[in-house]
């Protein structure tokens, strides 16, 4: 919750077609979590299946779903490539 000093702020944005399955369908959420929490755990909290994404990016670098976000991280979740 915003204002709770024990929590950190993490922004998740979904890139590609899996964005539609994010809460609200907007493909972007800003949440406050009690650290340490893995990306997989955060997605579970949001009821979003991690298999909807191939991998995640933080500051343009690939990270796994075991990544533990830091305060202010912006995590980009990349949808699977569908091809032609």
């Amino acid at each position: 919750m915003k204002g709770d000093p024990a929590k950190i702020r993490v922004t998740l944005s979904a890139m590609g077609h899996s964005a539609q399955y994010f809460p609200g369908g907007s493909g972007k959420v800003e949440i406050y979590v009690t650290p340490p929490r893995t990306l997989e755990g955060i997605l579970e909290d949001l009821c979003v299946a991690k298999d909807l994404f191939m991998f995640a990016l933080v500051e343009d670098k690939k990270v796994g779903f075991d990544y533990v976000p830091r305060d202010g991280d912006e995590v980009v979740l990349v949808s699977p490539v569908m091809g032609g």
């Binding site: 890139m15 590609g16 899996s18 191939m54 990349v78 949808s79 569908m82 091809g83």
Partner: protein
């Protein structure tokens, strides 16, 4: 208002008489079918004589860019190629990138129609208004890539050339058309139709300008579209790897074709994935006309059989000529890719056929004597041997060249259970035993088992992989959106892969064409085309209907033996529930034939009359 995006005429070529003529692109054709896939579907419906043998001179080839092709809309270089399919006997088409499509527009045409059969092999040369038939005697028998190079040297670099290889000449039911040294119209055997007409290649050069209804607005919108593409976060991640990026994910979710789809997880996937491609064999990226996100990967690969240069491999080839035959090194997949490209084989079907042959050998249904050698999984020599044999119809290749459906009917011994196809078209790169939305997408795809009309595995993941609810609706939704790109003459990867918004296309369409269509209007056009292609197959295939919409028995009866999808299969009752739901939502009969009221709603009364004549009760 004068329409933009259209050149106003269609070129019709009669190969038998070596004559050509043009006719105006009809207002009705534009209004109801818009272009590309729409023109292909309608012209095939009108021009292919009922019951024509797909490999006879009666069959008709239609090649159509879209109204947005060749203008400054991002990735507007796609062309649609169709004919009555020799693989399925029904509606057939395939889509190809590169630079061929815009050149057709620059030469002044909205579509090319090719009829008849040349007495001897020819190259059809279209140079603006001038149409000629050049002798192709010296090119017959040559590989597709080799022949394209010779033609470029002969005619000039500025000609865009589409060509077939030996597989097309030998009427292999899954022969493709090749262009730009590595782009293919791969599916449904359109290459064999060219071969049956003695048409080795089509070379086009044009010098015209494409009219645009509102040039200023369209140009500024297109500029904005490019900018948006470049700033999408996916731009940086998707472009370096192209479609190969997805190999690991498809394995993770248990959907990767492995050993003739006997299982869905390939333990060597990380040796044939996007990273392997990038780190071990990639030379440079290559893109189609006007593409902001070039997914083509030009590679050099060294194997024990030699070195190859090849455009690829992209995901489908990695799946079918990699995991499905258990080739576990990216270099080997690239080698097989290059062999198939030169021979003019569709890598998806060819990978299926090779895997089917290996399994038949393993099970004792084909002997060493019949095949001419031993076959084994993960053996590059076995794969290359089979590709060569099928493309040249030598020995066992003559049977394999018919595709897995016909081959399994002849081989018998229960091989039909693992002949992986729908309607005679081999299955592409996503196994669907644990993905009902993907399953209904595949089995109802209008050309056979192909993923490009609807790709819905993430919908399965999001909504429950064991659930059947809403899966048919999703397939229908996607079957209208995705083929719309083939109507417009655009690549859909910017939308599907990097999240480029559909609204952009809805906005630029009227600016280019002057047609005041909303996105919903365009979706309706797509639905009309979907019903027309289904009706085409109903008209052409005796007894067509529900029984043509089932997956192979393997998917309905054999649980996946290992990997993330272990134990999963989609029982026939579940498939039936999906089909019932799908037909009802589409407004089709329980047998899967469009009803009269649905056809009327779509302005297709003339189709209803034909189907009634055929005895369908609709």
């Amino acid at each position: 208002m004068k329409l933009g995006g259209y050149m106003g005429k269609i070129l019709e070529v009669d190969l038998t008489a070596k004559k050509s003529r043009t006719f105006p692109t009809g207002e009705d054709l534009i209004r109801d079918y818009v272009g590309g896939r729409g023109f292909v579907a309608k012209l095939l419906w009108d021009l292919v004589p009922r019951g024509a043998d797909p490999l006879s001179p009666e069959n008709v080839v239609v090649i159509a860019p879209g109204p947005l092709t060749g203008v400054f809309v991002p990735a507007s270089g796609k062309v649609h190629m169709g004919a009555k399919s020799p693989a399925t006997g029904g509606y057939g088409d395939s889509n190809m990138g590169g630079h061929f499509s815009p050149e057709i527009k620059y030469a002044g045409y909205d579509a090319l129609v090719v009829r008849g059969k040349a007495e001897k092999p020819v190259v059809l040369v279209i140079d603006d208004d001038k149409v000629s038939f050049e002798d192709a005697g010296d090119l017959w028998g040559k590989g597709a890539i080799t022949a394209e190079k010779i033609l470029k040297d002969r005619l000039g670099e500025d000609f865009q050339i589409a060509v077939i290889g030996p597989a097309g000449e030998n009427l292999v039911k899954f022969a493709c058309i090749s262009h730009d040294f590595g782009r293919q119209a791969g599916r449904t055997g359109v290459g064999a139709v060219w071969g049956s007409k003695n048409l080795k290649a089509v070379a086009v050069r044009g010098s015209r300008t494409i009219p645009v209804a509102q040039p200023k607005e369209a140009f500024s919108k297109a500029k904005e579209m490019y900018k948006t593409c470049f700033h999408k976060p996916g731009f940086k991640t998707w472009t370096p790897y192209g479609t190969a990026e997805v190999v690991d994910w498809v394995n993770k979710v248990g959907a990767f074709p492995t050993k003739n789809f006997s299982t869905t997880y390939f333990e060597r996937h990380n040796r044939i994935n996007g990273q392997s491609l990038k780190e071990r064999i990639l030379i440079t990226d290559k893109g189609c006309f006007g593409c902001p996100t070039p997914c083509g990967k030009y590679s050099r690969a060294q194997t024990r059989l030699g070195e190859v240069l090849v455009e690829g491999p992209e995901y489908e080839t990695i799946a079918l000529l990699g995991g499905n035959v258990a080739l576990g090194e990216i270099e080997e997949v690239a080698y097989a890719n290059r062999v198939a490209d030169e021979l003019g084989l569709d890598t998806i079907s060819a990978g299926n056929v090779a895997a089917f042959a290996i399994e038949c050998f393993e099970k004792g249904l084909l002997s060493r004597e019949q095949i001419g050698r031993n076959l084994s999984w993960g053996d590059l020599e076995s794969v290359v041997y089979l590709l060569e044999k099928m493309a040249r119809r030598e020995g066992i290749g003559d049977l394999l060249a018919e595709g897995v459906k016909v081959a399994s009917e002849k081989i018998g011994g229960g091989s039909e259970r693992f002949a992986i196809h729908v309607k005679g078209l081999e299955w592409s790169g996503y196994e669907a035993r644990w993905a009902p939305a993907m399953m209904i997408s595949y089995i109802t795809c209008d050309v056979g088992a192909h993923h490009n009309r609807s790709w819905a595995i993430t919908f399965d993941v999001a909504k429950g992989r064991d659930s059947l609810e809403g899966k048919a609706d999703k397939a229908i939704e996607l079957q209208h959106i995705r083929p719309l790109f083939d109507v417009l003459g655009l690549c859909r990867l910017q939308w599907v892969e990097i999240g480029f918004e559909l609204e952009n296309y809805a906005e630029i369409f009227p600016m280019v064409t002057g047609l005041g269509y909303s996105w919903e209007d365009l979706i309706k056009v797509s639905e009309r085309i979907w019903n027309l292609t289904r009706a085409f197959s109903a008209r052409e295939i005796p007894g067509f209907g529900r029984s043509f919409d089932y997956p192979p028995a393997r998917f309905m009866e054999e649980p996946v033996p290992d990997g993330p999808a272990k134990g999963k299969f989609l029982a026939r009752e579940s498939v039936d529930r999906l089909l019932d739901d799908y037909y009802a939502k589409r407004g089709w009969t329980k047998e899967g034939i469009p009803t009269r009221s649905k056809l009327s709603e779509l302005g297709l009364d003339f189709v209803a009359e034909e189907l009634e004549k055929d005895g369908y009760s609709i």
